[in-house]
Subunit: 343 residues, 2 copies
């Protein structure tokens, strides 16, 4: 097996390669780091690492670069997730001007994360499947038109406008509103949809058509927003790191815009531990993203389950720094949302 020093060698290979983008050779290792052994010894270690497929040579007689497996080993065992620098902490603090609008908070968060990591940052909206109904409001706009506003305990607010055949009656509308909230308040969205299905039955027959219209519109509204949403920032960073991709970054950018692939990827990563999870290189092959790494963390609750956020970038990225940033921002966002549960 790979010995202790061999792993140290792997660590510096990853670090140096990430810093310089150049394949790193045995000589430059002994020059830049004090291993106390000669280049030849390092070479023996490197031969070991190569046998284990942790590093590879782009071509004969050139330095070595980490493989996917090498990065994975680095992330799992070698990376020191060092705390953020003072400047970075300051950036988070500067960002603190808490807004009351979820859209705004997430937009700021994703920008912040992108700036901290110099990568593409992604923040998933709170999953509706894990949300509960906080409040439903019906606002009459005209005699035959009203707006339904739908608020979850995770801060999502969705509005929708619907036309009703009958004339709207303010007191009756108030009654519907009150019953809706008493019946639906605090329950999960799936149940809410079920409950709405038979909701009209409790009203007098003459009123049922109107109530039914409203209920089915609400069902649609909840269902339509079932699809999860993602905000992102820093796509320009992908272009900056274009040289780190063997082919074109075009398909990667397309996947990012498409969102659906990324949401599936996020979903797949949700299983694991509470902390930062990495998915590296070929591990993303099934999504057609075999040449990128994704670091994510849950946020929003102590078990990190409301939704995920993270960064996406080339294999050759600063894992230590980026994992620290993802962790810090996730914690920060959790705290922000937790302190004020209405958001």
């Amino acid at each position: 097996m790979v010995s202790g020093r061999s792993l140290d060698v792997l660590r510096v290979i990853v670090q140096d390669y990430v810093a310089s983008r150049e394949p790193v050779g045995s000589k430059s290792i002994v020059e830049r780091h004090s291993f106390g052994v000669s280049a030849a010894t390092i070479r023996n270690d490197m031969a070991l690492l190569e046998e284990e497929e942790l590093i590879a040579a782009p071509h004969t007689s050139s330095g070595r670069v980490p493989t996917d497996k090498g990065y994975r080993m680095f992330v799992d065992h070698l990376a020191d997730v060092r705390p953020l620098t003072a400047a970075q902490r300051q950036a988070i603090d500067a960002f603190l001007g808490a807004s009351l609008d979820l859209d705004d908070v997430l937009a700021r968060t994703v920008r912040l994360l992108s700036q901290l990591t110099h990568q593409v940052a992604l923040v998933q909206y709170p999953l509706l499947s894990k949300s509960r109904v906080r409040h439903i409001e019906l606002v009459p706009l005209s005699t035959t038109r009203l707006m339904s506003v739908f608020i979850t305990d995770t801060g999502r607010v969705e509005q929708r406008i619907l036309d009703v055949a009958a004339e709207l009656d303010d007191t009756f509308l108030a009654e519907i509103r009150a019953r809706l909230n008493s019946v639906l308040g605090g329950i999960g969205l799936a149940e809410a949809m079920d409950t709405l299905d038979g909701f009209a039955d409790q009203f007098p027959a003459a009123r049922q058509p109107l109530v039914r219209t409203i209920a089915s519109s609400l069902i649609e509204q909840i269902g339509a927003n079932r699809q999860d949403k993602l905000v992102m920032a820093g796509t320009a960073n992908l272009v900056r790191t274009e040289e780190d991709f063997s082919g074109s970054i075009f398909p990667v950018l397309e996947a990012i815009e498409e969102q659906v692939t990324l949401l599936r990827l996020f979903g797949e990563m949700a299983a694991d531990q509470n902390g930062v999870v990495a998915s590296i290189g070929r591990e993303n092959a099934e999504f057609g993203l075999g040449e990128i790494s994704v670091l994510t963390s849950g946020y929003g609750a102590s078990d990190g389950s409301i939704a995920r956020l993270g960064v996406l970038g080339p294999l050759r990225m600063d894992y230590s720094n980026n994992m620290a940033a993802v962790r810090a921002v996730a914690r920060y966002l959790t705290k922000l949302l937790g302190d004020d549960p209405s958001n």
Copy 2:
């Protein structure tokens, strides 16, 4: 001055260059188009065009490429803004599944425009400065917390949550709501802010603190959303056309993410005619975007004044097709918003 045939030559140079990305020479012109004259004659015309700085040679003894001025001439006098193809019309129709949510409509529109043009598409949210108050709603969430929802006649819906010191009283809240809507309904946002400033005075002194809290929060809410918003799609297309840029596209992508530059550019273009407006190459130099072209059109009203939408891409783009697409989508969106003014 440049004669009639010289302009025809310019037209085919632009067309061929856009199609092939290769500098076009006199010989290939006579081969591909039936001018009925020899290559030498074409060369004479090209010399004329070059004198007028409508075309230029990347290096001696190579074909010619249109200059910014050449593209401008093409757009102003030579481009036939041909109607969309059947497939394109179909794409618009397929997109027709009208949603009731402005966010959704604009998100679809920008995607559509990006697909039609294969460029970066931009859609500006309806300008708040041109919007009027349609409705204001106050929704109690708990005893000391309420949500204010703010709806404009252009379909924007903004919500915000605020804490109030006093206990909320439902009937009084209803009174505030009623007065707010009677005072503010239908007036412009700037006036609305002024009106809100003295709004509390009309209430009994004991109630004024609460009303004042709400009014100042509303002022903030309107002011905060004053900043205009932009949605975009198809940034991947910029990467696809990367070879059309002399330097890196990184600064362009940054400007796109930044939005503020683009919004200024949109503002600058707003002046002109009703139809599609182009800003080409160096005409955007003041925004640091001297190597791109932007095509925009107003939408939302017969004088196209609610906001703008358009596309952004390299100088070397298919102006005929893209101008047609921008025009068609703007008209379509205007119709969609006009048919249902509440959106």
